[in-house]
């Protein structure tokens, strides 16, 4: 902290300037005043002015760039000092008031700096006290009234009904069972030679769908029965529920 460096020698003051950087002449004055080690309300303004000018002289010697308000304050302090030093009866009551006002400002700034330090030392949210880290999304419950109109419902129905009458939408069948006609054509093409084959060997290529496979098997059996009726093939099933075998008749 700026006021944290206890400084007595000029060299140390250089350090203070370089390291800390006061936030303005009042802050510097407060730092110098604290070094008098007395209640700020009873600080010697004359001594404070001397310290301020000495500090400024050190800064000037070391060619530190100082903001203009440090010099303006120095001029004001010098003037104040000269008025405070006037002997009675020429002494200036306003000068005493200004000195008191300066003490007041130092007391006020000191209190605020202590308050700031007190705040800084509080266990701060996000530093000493952490909030819940995870964000949970609470579900949303809609409780508003339902806004519907009969006209809207009726219009919707009419449009649906009209579409139904005029142009049925094109429905793409994703899986269509093999028809007996197709099975017949397929079987007739595949029947070569006169060996016995399992019926399942005559199925067309099928997807993984087990229902499509059973449907195709049924259709192929119907096709086989039809060919047997025409006398073109022979069928046999050696055991109940076992595989069906088929061959072309000689």
């Amino acid at each position: 902290m700026a006021d944290g460096l206890g400084v007595s020698a000029a060299e140390d003051e250089v350090l203070t300037v370089a390291v800390a950087g006061f936030s303005g002449p009042l802050d510097l004055l407060l730092d110098l005043a604290r070094r008098q080690q007395v209640d700020l309300r009873h600080i010697s303004v004359l001594e404070l002015v001397d310290r301020y000018l000495a500090w400024l002289e050190t800064a000037r010697r070391l060619r530190l760039a100082l903001a203009a308000d440090y010099l303006v304050t120095a001029a004001w302090l010098l003037y104040l000092k000269s008025r405070l030093l006037l002997p009675p009866p020429a002494n200036d009551p306003e000068a005493a008031e200004e000195a008191a006002a300066l003490r007041g400002r130092l007391v006020a700034l000191d209190a605020i700096q202590r308050a700031a330090a007190w705040l800084e030392a509080r266990p701060r949210l996000g530093r000493e006290r952490l909030p819940r880290g995870m964000r949970e999304r609470l579900p949303r419950r809609r409780t508003g009234p339902l806004r519907v109109e009969l006209a809207e419902l009726v219009r919707t129905w009419f449009h649906l009904a009209a579409r139904d009458q005029r142009s049925r939408p094109l429905v793409l069948a994703t899986s269509r069972p093999l028809s007996p006609e197709e099975a017949l054509q397929h079987l007739a093409r595949r029947l070569t030679g006169h060996d016995w084959h399992e019926l399942a060997a005559f199925l067309p290529p099928l997807g993984p769908d087990p229902f499509a496979r059973r449907a195709a098997l049924a259709a192929t059996l119907v096709a086989g029965l039809e060919l047997a009726r025409r006398g073109e093939v022979e069928l046999r099933q050696p055991e109940p529920f076992g595989p069906v075998w088929l061959r072309r008749r000689r």
């Binding site: 995870m134 579900p139 949303r140 419950r141 009969l150 919707t156 449009h159 649906l160 579409r163």
Partner: protein, 185 residues
């Protein structure tokens, strides 16, 4: 008020403040040799049993979650008026005019699949209800409208639903021509 060990306090705070679930290894790393993570987690989990917040472990790690049974009560209440989606309105229209009707029949009219969510929504709103089963293979559920449906639409009875024929040459013909055939003429 509490008999919590320092290790348990620390793990509780860690899990509370972490934006992500925390692995057991990470917790052990925090605890160092002070305690065994697994044992601390077990004690902490037991402590939170029956609470509104529970300690859960998943493959991602350990985390506090609000108890699932409280979800409905904690839901953000959204008081804005609700409207029916187009899918819900179409489904409701088919049910209203064709009842009792199966889902497959609704789909046939609409030309698209009816999602479970749409029927659930209409059910939840009390606008439709099951009306037994159709006696065909699979015995699909038959759907119909409820008294609440009449209420909501301001109808005395289903007979008050306007019939297509009543509108055939009126409003609908005009609207239909306008809407249906942009390519026309």
């Amino acid at each position: 008020m509490s008999d919590m060990s320092e290790a348990e306090r620390l793990v509780e705070a860690l899990l509370f403040a972490s934006p992500e679930p925390v692995s057991e290894a990470r917790i052990q790393q925090l605890l160092g040799t002070r305690a065994e993570a697994r044992a601390v987690l077990a004690r902490l989990k037991a402590r939170y049993e029956g609470h509104g917040v529970v300690l859960e472990s998943s493959r991602a790690g350990w985390a506090f979650r609000t108890a699932p049974d409280l979800a409905a009560e904690l839901a953000h209440i959204d008081p804005r008026p609700r409207r029916l989606s187009r899918a819900a309105l179409e489904t409701l229209a088919v049910i209203a005019y064709k009842q009792p009707v199966t889902r497959a029949e609704i789909e046939a009219v609409r030309g698209v699949a009816v999602s479970r969510g749409v029927l659930d929504q209409l059910l939840e709103l009390g606008l439709i209800a099951p009306r037994g089963h159709k006696e065909v293979p699979g015995r699909p559920v038959l759907w119909g409208t409820t008294p609440r449906f009449l209420d909501v639409f301001g109808l005395a009875s289903l007979d008050d639903l306007p019939r297509l024929e009543e509108f055939e040459e009126g409003l609908f013909a005009a609207e239909g021509a306008q809407r249906e055939d942009p390519s026309g003429a």
